[in-house]
Amino acid sequence: MADMDVDMEAAPAASSKGAPVPVRSIEGWIVLVTNVHEEASEEDLNDLFAEYGEVQNLHLNLDRRTGYVKGYALAEYSTKEEARAAVDGINGKKLLDQTVAADFAFVRPPPGAVNGGNNSGGSAGRGRGNRGTAAGRRQRSTSPGKAEGGEE
């Protein structure tokens, strides 16, 4: 998408140190938790996530075959601080006897990756009818790359 390209140009790089840089989603920061017990409830997860901030959104998808929890959960926080605290606090924690892992779900693409993808994937669909690409920037408070953690 055009606005993603804009972000990428403004924000060079998934860090020279190698660790991928978390990226903001449209309404906040998304934290992924894996190895979630199949009998965990939405309330269990909400309790877990709520320790680190106000949970704006929670997805706890079920296994379509068994009806039990598939094994991962996605939570949205408004601020990067809350999401960072959740990642650090939840990673390695026990939930219903299982050690869970946590990290940001989305990261900044390495330089060139998305542009390359666009080209090879055929750019026919770029610039959706109703949203002029000239306008470019979407309702994103700041480009995530400009000031680390300065989006809130």
Binding site: M1, P20, P22, S25, I26, L32, N61, A113, V114, N118
Partner: protein
């Protein structure tokens, strides 16, 4: 566990051509150097003059690990599409996965209901495919929803 830099690619397509043009849903994940995966999603229908929706995002290594786990546990890599229903006028589905040294590329008809599976020549295999696709779609819709969708007020 497999190394995070192991080759990994998955693509799913479901579509048909009809009254509203080429209607399809497609997504793929491709691991790129640096340990993240580039995910692409496209959804097209000309129904009521809808236009193509295309999204791209980069997911973290933990997310890739989870996708791989879901694929491995489904045991789809052991299946074979030889006896699955052929694509037809109602459309087709494609699933391609490359994981380490393994590679599958399946094509079959759209599955309307569980009856289609039961009546097929390989209900066991087709069921694996059907539920894996459902689980993957649910995951992709969650990711797209959280990353791009503005909450209705």
């Amino acid at each position: 566990m497999s190394s995070p830099n192991e080759q990994f690619y998955i693509r799913y397509y479901s579509g048909h051509s009809g009254r509203f043009g080429h209607e399809f849903l497609e997504f793929d994940f491709r691991v790129v150097p640096g340990g993240c995966a580039l995910a692409r999603y496209a959804n097209n229908s000309n129904y009521r003059n809808d236009s193509l929706i295309r999204k791209e995002m980069c997911v973290s290594a933990l997310m890739i690990k989870e996708i791989k786990r879901i694929i491995k546990e489904s045991e789809i890599m052991k299946e074979d599409d030889a006896k699955w229903p052929q694509k037809n006028k109602d459309g087709r589905q494609e699933l391609e996965i490359r994981m380490g040294n393994e590679h599958i590329s399946f094509e079959t008809a759209k599955i309307g209901s569980l009856v289609d599976i039961q009546e097929s020549a390989d209900p066991e295999g087709l069921r694996v495919f059907y539920y894996l696709v459902q689980d993957l779609k649910a995951m992709v819709f969650s990711l797209i929803g959280l990353h791009f969708k503005i909450k209705p007020i």
